[in-house]
């Protein structure tokens, strides 16, 4: 019993995590994780977008401004995008967002992440979310 209590204390901080999933791969992957009953932490809020290319860097910044402790963007693997090259744009844009804005803002780089998850990777989706949530928990809240 005492063990369980200390564990709760240690993980007292419940982060807010925002996840953008593209409709065709990652959201279906999330669905599959659900249907297959793979467990993942309930800290994430998923927003479905048609393509990861729809995620404007401004969305990520606004999420960070409005209380998110971490933001994950997820789309189809390169080459698999439903709109052919949407995720290539995401990748390039994300790199610039990361290097030019996130780093220079002094926000820990681990708080913003890009991952490719396909519709068949339900298990991987759960893993990605678990891993990311743990990382953010480790970092603590963005707002101190």
């Amino acid at each position: 019993m005492t063990k369980a209590v200390s564990k709760v204390e240690k993980e007292d901080f419940e982060p807010y995590i925002l996840v953008f999933c593209c409709n065709w791969c990652s959201y279906a992957g999330a669905d599959l994780a659900g249907v297959s009953r793979f467990q993942y932490p309930p800290n994430v809020r998923i927003i479905r977008v048609m393509c990861s290319g729809r995620v404007d860097p401004a969305f990520v910044l606004k999420a960070l401004k409005n209380r998110a402790d971490g933001v994950l963007i997820s789309g189809c693997h390169i080459g698999d995008c439903h709109y052919i090259s949407g995720n290539e744009y995401t990748r390039d844009r994300f790199e610039r967002l990361y290097n030019i804005i996130i780093k220079q803002l002094g926000v820990n780089e681990k708080r913003v992440k890009l991952e490719w998850v396909s519709a068949s990777e339900g298990k991987r989706f759960a893993e990605v979310i678990t891993e990311f949530t743990n990382e953010i928990k480790e970092l603590g809240p963005l707002r101190k």
Binding site: K103, Q104, G106
Partner: protein, 426 residues
């Protein structure tokens, strides 16, 4: 005075709320009618309004409606988000009615009491204004990249002269045009000063866009406090910037918040700095090389350096004097049809309202520039970004070379050897 003792008695959190209210009162005037009461409806403002050239927008009618008691209607219609805050109306108003400032105050109301969402008017989905908002948070300590600092320049985090870079490192996300501004400015400063210049890694935004564009005064105050602390910590007495908006914000708005700001820090635009050094005989201007002889340049006066400075500030006259000297050396400078206080707007102020109408404004500005010369010099990173953005769409104005003042001057300055006691070397 009574207020201060009151604050001291209160708890910590209440104190900070009261404290921020205290600051807010210094920059926010909720009674718009009070600010407008002297208007006698001469309608000059509507005649010169730059926005009225491209859309229906009649400041004098808006003023009249507010004076007649329909403030609520005017504010809830949201029409005031459109104003460019270019200050052309103030320039021509016989009663010195500062309409742009009224718009600024109204924006605070529209945002906080009428729950209007300014986000839909902000360009680039608000990425740059959001950066400013994030920077204002106390838990954020920026870590700016200083790789751009030229090798020959020595910088430090303590000293007496600070170069304020501003938000250009973040603009890099989409704009490469503004990269040379800090590089050239710092080169000029280092060459002349010959000692380390303070450039801060954790410098934050001045807050200009939140103040004029979004009506987010709380974040503006937080940024101002952060800057004040940073400047104090680094022990600087002079702040030099190459940014028109930053300059004006430090010069005019910060002293409203902090009474001792102008006593503690002397704020200079790089134009003023170069002018002073020329007068002191510390630097000379170089005559043009063969290739430069045909360069015809003109100057776009940013609103924040022309119409937005107190009349006693003769920054633009100083600039013209520098240009006169250049002309004497063989460069050719020509004014655009609208110049100095009458300069046309670059179209997008504080990242607000980038649309077809602002495009028309920018286009007419560039046409004027084209008539006046091949190189357009200006002193505002935003003007550079907005104007060169339009060039990508219109072939006929594509040929104009848009440059920042520092970028333009960096190779034209010649530092006189101090051993020579200021004697001119040929």
């Amino acid at each position: 005075m009574k207020r201060i003792t009151e604050i001291n008695e209160k708890g910590n959190s209440e104190q900070s709320i009261e404290d921020s209210e205290l600051y807010l009162n210094k920059i926010y005037e909720p009674n718009l009618r009070k600010l407008l009461s002297k208007c006698y409806q001469c309608v000059r403002c509507s005649g010169v309004c730059q926005l009225s050239k491209v859309q229906s927008f009649i400041p004098s009618v808006i003023i009249q409606r507010i004076l007649e008691g329909s403030e609520d209607k005017v504010i809830s219609s949201g029409v005031l988000w459109d104003c460019l805050t270019c200050n052309s109306c103030l320039q021509n108003c016989p009663e010195d009615i500062n309409f742009a400032d009224i718009v600024r105050n109204a924006k605070y109301k529209m945002k906080n009491y009428y729950k209007q969402n300014p986000e839909e008017f902000v360009a680039h989905k608000g990425i740059y204004t959001t950066i400013s908002e994030i920077l204002s948070e106390p838990y954020i300590q920026p870590n700016k990249n200083l790789d751009w600092v030229p090798k020959e320049c020595k910088i430090s985090d303590k000293g007496d002269i600070l170069y304020f870079v501003g938000c250009i490192p973040y603009f890099k996300f989409e704009f490469q045009e503004v990269d040379p501004i800090p590089i050239s400015s710092l080169k000029i400063l280092c060459q002349i000063e010959n000692r380390p210049i303070v450039v801060l890694k954790d410098e934050v935004c001045c807050g200009h866009d939140l103040y004029w564009g979004l009506g987010n005064f709380e974040a503006f105050i937080k940024l101002a406090k952060k800057n004040y602390e940073l400047f104090e910590k680094s022990g600087v007495s002079t702040i030099i910037t190459s940014c028109a908006e930053g300059y004006r914000t430090f010069k005019v708005e910060y002293p409203k918040l902090f009474e001792d700001f102008d006593k503690k820090f002397e704020v200079k635009h790089i134009i003023e700095y170069i002018y002073e050094k020329l007068k002191q005989g510390k630097i000379e201007l170089k005559a043009p090389d063969e290739g430069d002889i045909n360069i015809q340049f003109t100057y776009h006066d940013p609103c924040r350096l022309s119409r937005f400075l107190p009349k006693s500030n003769n920054l633009l006259e100083k600039l013209r004097e520098i240009f006169n000297l250049l002309e004497g050396l063989g460069y050719s400078f020509k004014e655009m049809t609208h110049n100095k206080e009458n300069a046309l707007c670059c179209g997008v102020s504080s990242w607000m309202n980038c649309n077809t109408r602002s495009k028309a404004l920018r286009y007419s500005r560039l046409l004027e520039a084209k008539e006046a010369g091949t190189t357009l010099v200006t002193s505002c990173p935003k003007c550079i970004m907005h104007l060169s953005c339009l060039q990508k769409d219109y072939d006929d104005v594509f040929s104009i070379e848009i440059k920042d003042f520092s970028e333009f001057m960096v190779n034209l300055i010649y530092v006189i050897d101090s051993k020579n006691n200021g004697e001119v070397k040929s």
